[in-house]
């Protein structure tokens, strides 16, 4: 088996059980992470219905995503009229501070000029107080949900940075956490608070996608990043943006702020595992001039202690890791720290950067026999996984069928997790995130071993 990135042959075909989702889904998540914002998909209503049901099944929270409800005529004559109507109706019903528009395959294929529609919408309503209206181009035939996510972050930053002058001084830090869980976002906020750092985080859906019961009806759930905070991002002292693949690849919110307003941008890997979390804490120490607060030092110490306690269960274990490229890269980092060999690292994304990036973390990946594959689906993963005799699968719920067929357990991380409760509470980031992942991985392996034992030992 060659260790190079095995690309599918040119023009080769069907995707069977995809390992990626569509672009407008990523954009919708970002809009959910902004205070008083409503996502609006410009296209057929099916897109917003499908995406809603998918996002809801993971987060188990209400998720409103509006649609411009194209009909056959709209598809022929263009979506301008529908867009105006949708904006008017959304404003009337929701009174939002921001409407985030993401295009779909349909409006992109017919070539709707959304920017022009919006210009004339604003001109016709010059006497009205309009919400911020941000537009991101997200045809599903270009990229994956991660491109929709990063594209929306960038569109929001760009769209709001050039707005009104705000007399306040900037925060110390902008933080772009990427597509992580609400529990991860809360943990990051906790860390930043402990450092006493003032910050703006985009997006922050930690409340809107993992919220409390309502004492009264909320047309728009509470929570999310304030729009004024986003407008002020250009004045921050620095930005931190997670994602090594993002760093090497596409444009981003952090890069935009750096290039346009000179805000320094620290591009870090997702802080999964000790090394990447250390790097994050190092940046925070540099920015603030204070050393890491004791409780995080203790978390790190306990984590390392547990690595020692548990090494006998994980050392040399072979794992298949799949999902978003940056998540896979982050997991590889943790897995190598604990001695697991990620024999197959797979993603439906195709940045062209996965192998190079993983090489920076695991230079010895070739002798270890690690295969790194981009642009694959679960059919490819399954075909290859069999050759690697893995002990464990690590990724989202979509790999369950495959783990079941091969008879090896699955540790659920990332998105979507819709066959377990608590998808929004899975923690990946920081020392505590690593602790949870480590404990879950080890316990899964122990459980599998225990089940196989004829005696049924209770002391392991």
């Amino acid at each position: 088996m060659s260790n190079s990135v095995l690309k599918k042959k040119e023009n080769y075909t069907p995707t069977t059980n995809a390992c990626k989702l569509c672009t407008p889904l990523g954009a919708s998540l970002v809009f959910k992470g902004i205070s008083n914002a409503v996502p609006l998909l410009h296209g057929s209503q099916g897109c917003s219905t499908y995406i809603r049901r998918y996002v809801i099944s993971h987060f188990k929270e209400p998720v409103d995503i509006a649609s411009t409800n194209f009909s056959e005529e709209t598809a022929i004559f263009g979506g301008g009229v529908n867009l105006n109507l949708a904006l008017d109706n959304l404003r009337k019903q929701y009174n939002p501070e921001m409407i985030g528009i993401a295009t779909t395959c349909l409006s992109e294929t017919i070539g709707d000029d959304v920017a022009m529609f919006l210009k004339s919408y604003r001109e016709q309503r010059i006497d009205q107080r309009l919400p911020e209206i941000i537009h991101v181009s997200t045809p599903s035939y270009r990229g994956t949900h991660m491109d929709g996510f990063h594209g929306a972050v960038q569109a929001v930053v760009e769209g709001l940075s050039n707005k009104d002058f705000d007399a306040r001084s900037g925060h110390q830090l902008n933080i772009f956490p990427s597509m992580v869980s609400p529990a991860d976002i809360r943990h990051l906020k906790d860390i930043l608070k402990a450092f006493g750092i003032s910050y703006a985080m985009l997006p922050d859906y930690s409340d809107r996608l993992d919220g409390a019961l309502w004492s009264e009806y909320q047309t728009i759930q509470k929570g999310g990043t304030d729009i004024s905070e986003i407008k002020n991002m250009k004045k921050a002292r620095a930005s931190v943006e997670f994602g090594k693949i993002l760093e090497g690849g596409r444009s981003s919110g952090g890069k935009y702020l750096k290039d346009t307003f000179g805000v320094p941008c620290y591009s870090l890997g997702l802080p999964i595992g000790v090394r990447e979390t250390d790097a994050f804490f190092k940046v925070l120490e540099n920015l603030t001039g204070i050393s890491t607060p004791d409780r995080f030092v203790s978390q790190r110490e306990r984590l390392i202690d547990s690595f020692v306690d548990g090494h006998k269960y994980v050392s040399g274990i072979r794992a298949v890791v799949y999902g978003e490229e940056d998540l896979v890269v982050g997991m590889v980092s943790l897995l190598r720290e604990i001695g697991i060999i990620p024999v197959l690292c797979a993603s439906g994304g195709k940045s062209g950067l996965m192998e190079k990036t993983i090489e920076t973390i695991v230079p010895e990946y070739q002798p270890l026999g690690i295969s790194i594959r981009e642009n694959v689906d679960f059919m490819d993963i399954e075909k290859q996984a069999a050759d690697f005799s893995p002990d464990i699968f690590i990724g989202n719920s979509k790999g369950y069928t495959l783990s079941r067929r091969i008879g090896k357990p699955l540790v659920r991380i990332g998105f979507p997790v819709h066959d377990r409760i608590g998808g929004s509470r899975i923690r990946h980031l920081g020392y505590e995130g690593a602790q949870e992942l480590f404990d879950r991985i080890v316990n899964t392996l122990i459980e599998k071993g225990q089940e196989k034992s004829e005696i049924g030992y209770t002391y392991i």
Binding site: S44, T49, E61, S71, A75, L83, L85, N89, R142
Partner: protein
């Protein structure tokens, strides 16, 4: 279990006032349209009900629960068939989101039998195909699917961009059919067609009728041979119905399309009778089978123990053979004691509680039966994608105005098959049956079975849902995953009637027992005691809010 209509009115709340509240927040034009889709039920002496505007386009920016044509065609009607490879031609999202999400169950006949339901096949179109056309990739995808799995049939489903860029899925299907020697057929179910998934049902019906039904004329064993249409085997419903049928001595030729197989569809035109569960999604196939082959259809409902018994008797009446009639009565007598036992126990705890159902094109009607059996009252109901006949009954069919959106969906012109048309009953036999009150090709709709003063709302949206809950404080709300958590946020249990919350079956006798128990578990769960709902304005209670 007779209950007078008046008993069901929620006397302290004026439905007119509710209606006004629901539409007060809309811009004038939107309000006018919605007011035609929100109706207060009133049944007159001739069993006529007020008109409900239905199957009309959703207003942009109003958050609807509706899906698209592709969802209705691929997801609903064709999705539950295990051995046809369903290939989505389009970018990745559409295929991904319809991948094993509806919880249709299937039971292959053996290890050799194909089961593609855990798979999701997509051409995963990229920009290159959008610009230069995707037919080449589609052909390669079909070839690859064939090489890998050797299926009996491959169906192609077009998504939004496909029609626009000029890809012709039908010509590709014809070409590949000739090349591979298996059945390959396409569906032009682009998401923007029609006003909801209903358009996709119609397109699916047309396709399956044109390309599959009638391909196998062999008449197989069975004395009473029926098709069950519009039963999708969510949570194993079709298994329970099959169990009862078998007990009664009825043979199912094909189900459309729960637990179905390509071979069953091919042979389905040999049945004696078509039974329709979900009128909305499948009546087209029944109509076409009647015209072409002479198979009559009747409406049945296996949701609710009483309804199940009634439907079985109706089938027996159709055949009019003492052997079958007696057998059906024996089965009912055998099944009912257990049902009655659980029903009585659950009814004691659920009696008088209020339910709302906003789901589907039949379920909002059928499930009212089950609630009635445990003494619960339905105070508001509506469909997501139904037409006027599903609300008001087929008697309004001649008066339904066909708008541009529906006209775009092809209506097939069907003629009697020169060789195979064979009326199952003579006109005299039919007329004899009708004299006894037996009704062919009839569906009286949901409203005639709802109480006066109840609210009937078509294509309800998120905003109206929340308002209704605030006003009526129902004890349970039935809809789908999209509504589930918004409703539960307000402290109301919410039962999913699309996917059954992973429960079921709820059809037939055992299904009824499952449902009674499930509703009991939900409405009487301890967890609700800890939720202070918005209208419970009681500061003392608020102070003691805690989990203990």
């Amino acid at each position: 279990m007779e209950t007078s209509c008046e008993d069901y009115i929620c006397s302290e709340i004026d439905p007119e006032e509710v209606k006004n509240k629901l539409i007060s927040k809309y811009p004038a034009k939107v309000g006018r349209k919605r007011s035609k889709q929100i109706t207060i039920n009133r049944i007159d002496e001739e069993k006529c009900v007020p008109e409900v505007m239905a199957n009309v386009r959703t207003i942009p920016g109003i958050i609807t629960q509706r899906g698209c044509s592709y969802a209705g065609c691929k997801g609903v009607v064709l999705g539950p068939t295990r051995d046809i490879i369903n290939l989505t031609h389009g970018p990745i999202g559409c295929g991904f989101y319809s991948w094993l999400t509806r919880r249709n169950q299937t039971r292959p006949n053996g290890p050799e039998d194909h089961n593609f339901m855990p798979y999701c096949f997509s051409t995963d179109m990229q920009e290159n195909e959008i610009i230069f056309g995707g037919e080449k990739k589609l052909k390669e995808a079909i070839q690859e699917a064939y090489d890998t799995f050797h299926p009996k049939a491959i169906a192609i489903f077009a998504t939004c961009p496909v029609g626009l860029i000029g890809d012709d899925v039908h010509s590709v299907a014809r070409e590949m059919k000739a090349k591979l020697g298996i059945n390959v057929f396409g569906f032009s179910c682009e998401g923007y067609k029609g006003v909801s998934q209903s358009a996709g049902h119609h397109i699916a019906n047309n396709g399956i009728f044109t390309h599959v039904v009638g391909l196998d004329d062999e008449i197989r064993e069975g004395k009473y041979r029926i098709n069950l249409l519009g039963e999708y085997n969510i949570g194993g419903d079709a298994f329970e119905i099959d169990r009862i049928f078998e007990d009664c001595g009825l043979t199912v030729v094909s189900t459309f399309s729960g637990n179905s197989s390509y071979d069953y569809f091919k042979n389905s035109h040999t049945a004696d009778l078509n039974l329709i569960m979900c009128h909305r999604s499948i009546n087209y196939v029944a109509e076409m089978m009647e015209t072409k082959y002479g198979i009559p259809w009747i409406k049945v409902n296996f949701i609710g123990a009483e309804a199940t018994a009634k439907s079985l008797r109706k089938i027996a009446q159709y055949y009019d053979e003492p052997e079958l009639t007696d057998r059906v009565e024996e089965v009912i007598v055998k099944e009912m004691p257990e049902v009655e036992k659980v029903r009585a126990e659950v009814k004691a705890r659920c009696e008088g509680k209020l339910a709302m159902l906003f789901v589907g094109g039949s379920r909002a009607h059928h499930y009212q039966e089950l609630f009635k059996e445990i003494g619960m009252r339905t105070i508001a109901a509506g469909y997501e994608f139904a037409h006027r006949d599903d609300y008001e009954g087929r008697r309004v069919l001649p008066n339904i105005k066909v708008d541009a959106d529906s006209r775009n969906i092809e209506e097939l012109e069907i003629h009697p098959d020169p060789q195979r048309y064979q009326p199952r009953k003579s006109p005299e036999e039919i007329s004899e049956l009708e004299k006894t009150g037996f009704k062919f090709k009839d569906y009286e709709g949901m409203m005639t079975e709802m109480s006066n003063g109840t609210l009937v709302i078509d294509d309800i949206n998120q905003y109206e849902t929340e308002k209704l809950i605030e006003i009526f404080k129902p004890d349970i709300f039935c809809a789908g995953i999209k509504e589930k958590y918004a409703i539960q946020k307000s402290g109301i249990p919410m039962k999913q009637l699309h996917s059954y919350d992973s429960g079921g079956p709820y059809a037939g006798f055992r299904g009824a027992i499952n449902f009674y128990r499930e509703i009991d578990r939900m409405v009487n769960s301890k967890v609700w005691k800890y939720v202070k709902a918005p209208w419970q304005q009681n500061p003392e209670l608020a102070a003691t809010y805690a989990w203990d």
